[in-house]
């Protein structure tokens, strides 16, 4: 069951002169980030992941204690997991096998007497392969033998193997086919139901409208609108993206 935690951003200023804002993410919810390219949503996600620094405070509040997230190491320790956008340049390791690509962030989990146990690794991989419906010839095939969608699933499995409390996804369905997208949507809903907090940046409005409970629209590096429930309509989102009143 979900731990009682909140993932907070307070007085965050994404760019000099931009208005400070606060956000609270809680387990069980899927929050979407939208905006025109380069309007701060990408930077916000990276700041939350501890990858970029910005004035303000990012922290994980858990059972009455506050854990500040000042850098990537803090995020790693608090199991706040970031999945980058560009699969080719920041995701896959093209010379490595599917299995290696899956296990690379959590190799210690497979250690038996100091050495990586192939059996343990394979068992862990099979669990996620089934859950994410990864279509792959053999775990030893190179990752580049997979389709874009299946590569993305392996990268998600790599992130999920870290047992995240908060999952920060940077455009996770970019270049992914429609069938795979729906597998991923179902998975995200399941993860939220199991008590994970998900923040999803997406370049497609339909996707966030379909998937998220709440939507934050960015313009000029500040929050231009926060929508939920009935208010989540594409007209409203587009208006907020372009800085017009809906």
């Amino acid at each position: 069951m979900a731990e009682a935690l909140t993932f907070n951003a307070a007085d965050l200023v994404l760019r000099e002169g931009a208005a400070p804002f606060r956000q609270v993410f809680t387990p069980g919810e899927i929050v979407g980030l939208a905006g025109l390219d380069g309007h701060g949503q990408d930077r916000f996600l990276r700041v939350m992941a501890g990858l970029d620094q910005a004035p303000g405070r990012v922290s994980l509040e858990m059972s009455g204690k506050s854990h500040p997230i000042a850098g990537f190491r803090d995020a790693e320790r608090q199991r706040i997991v970031y999945v980058p956008r560009d699969r080719r340049s920041t995701g896959i390791f093209p010379d490595l096998s599917i299995l290696d690509n899956f296990a690379i962030a959590t190799p210690e989990a497979d250690r038996r007497f100091g050495l990586i146990s192939r059996k343990a690794r394979l068992a862990r991989y099979m669990h996620w392969k089934e859950r994410l419906k990864i279509v792959a010839p053999s775990p030893d095939a190179p990752i580049t033998a997979l389709s874009g969608g299946n590569q993305q699933k392996v990268l998600l499995a790599r992130a999920l193997a870290r047992n995240p409390r908060v999952l920060l996804l940077n455009d996770p369905t970019r270049g992914v086919d429609v069938a795979t997208r729906h597998v991923l949507y179902d998975l995200f809903r399941e993860l939220a139901a199991e008590g994970m907090a998900l923040v999803i940046l997406s370049s497609e409005i339909e996707e966030v409208l379909l998937l998220c409970n709440r939507l934050i629209v960015f313009r000029d590096h500040q929050v231009s609108a926060e929508l939920s429930g009935e208010a989540m309509q594409s007209e409203a989102v587009i208006a907020a993206m372009f800085g017009r009143a809906a």
Binding site: G50, L51, D52, G71, F72
Partner: protein, 318 residues
């Protein structure tokens, strides 16, 4: 930088800043420590002494600028082979005319460059391995055709060593300036900084890289002639020393080993830096051992300072 400066000038100052600063400091130090040797009247002789190293650095630069691990470690041995062939042609072949020896030197250099270029771009062997292969072949070949030093060099060539060494360097500068008026240099930089983007934009990446090797080879030919002028003979072992020191000079002159940044001016500045350092330490009458430590220290220090200067623009979270 002052606001009135043109962006291009500011950029090249930024790029060559360290090389130039070291150059000025070393030059002043040399003039103060060794006024006789660095008397303005002697600058011609000094230029002649620096010319082979400058030539070697220039020859190393185009391939490095072409990126994707491009490097030519056969520059030194190639200079050695050209040096040996020219003197053998003169002493044993009786060919003395500059109208024959210059073309032979340049064509031989360009030919070696073309072989390196073919191996690195068409056969697609990693450049350092391809030129390592030619390094070994050229070293062996030179020692086979010329087991021991041989002399002399033709009179006209020896007279090219002093003030007159500005002639070949000047011709190189002129040719490079001419080349910078063509699309080639822009394409070379584009290929060096991002070959995939250049490829997508329709640049013949393989062709540009191949040409970079050939141009480097031509410069090797010229550098070998300047070397021959300086030593006035042929020495089968003199060439190999130049490779590493030329690459060091290129790095010192702000040419990025990742490709796409720097130019021949930088390479020349780096070579002059090393020459001045050499002179200064010789003036102090220090051993060659101290000289070596100084080379290494200046090289490491310069690249570290250059990297620190570039650092604020790109922050890594790792």
């Amino acid at each position: 930088m002052s606001g009135s400066m043109t962006p291009a000038l500011a950029l090249s100052l930024r790029r060559y800043g360290f090389g130039l600063a070291i150059l000025v400091v070393l030059l002043i130090a040399n003039v103060v420590m060794n006024p006789a040797r660095f008397h303005p009247a002697a600058w011609g002789t000094l230029l002649g002494m620096a010319a082979p190293l400058i030539g070697a650095a220039l020859a190393s630069a185009p391939v490095i600028m072409a990126g994707r691990g491009g490097i030519d470690i056969s520059v030194g041995p190639a200079m050695g082979l050209v040096n040996a062939v020219v003197i053998l042609l003169f002493v044993h072949g009786g060919i003395a005319s500059p109208w024959l020896l210059w073309p032979v030197a340049l064509l031989l250099g360009a030919g070696i460059g073309a072989i390196n270029g073919f191996l690195a771009t068409v056969v697609r062997i990693q450049p350092i391995v391809a030129t390592l292969g030619t390094y070994l072949i050229l070293t062996g070949l030179t020692l086979t055709i010329l087991p021991a030093p041989l002399g002399p060099a033709p009179g006209w060539l020896r007279s090219l060593s002093g003030v007159w060494s500005f002639a070949p360097l000047g011709v190189i500068a002129l040719c490079w300036w001419g080349l910078s008026r063509t699309p080639f240099l822009g394409q070379l930089m584009a290929v060096g900084s991002d070959d995939r983007a250049a490829y997508t934009a329709g640049v013949n990446v393989t062709g540009v890289r191949f040409l970079a090797y050939v141009i480097g080879g031509l410069l090797v030919g010229a550098a070998a002639m300047m070397l021959t002028a300086l030593i006035g003979s042929a020495d089968p072992k003199v060439g190999t020393n130049y490779t590493m020191i030329a690459i060091a000079a290129v790095a010192l002159g702000g040419v990025s080993l990742a490709g796409g940044r720097g130019g021949l001016i930088g390479a020349a500045i780096g070579a002059i830096d090393i020459f001045l350092l050499q002179s200064l330490l010789t003036a102090f009458n220090v051993s060659t051992y101290v000289l070596q430590v100084a080379y290494g220290a200046v090289l490491v220090l310069a690249v570290v300072l250059m990297a620190l200067q570039d650092r604020p623009t790109k922050r890594s979270h790792a």
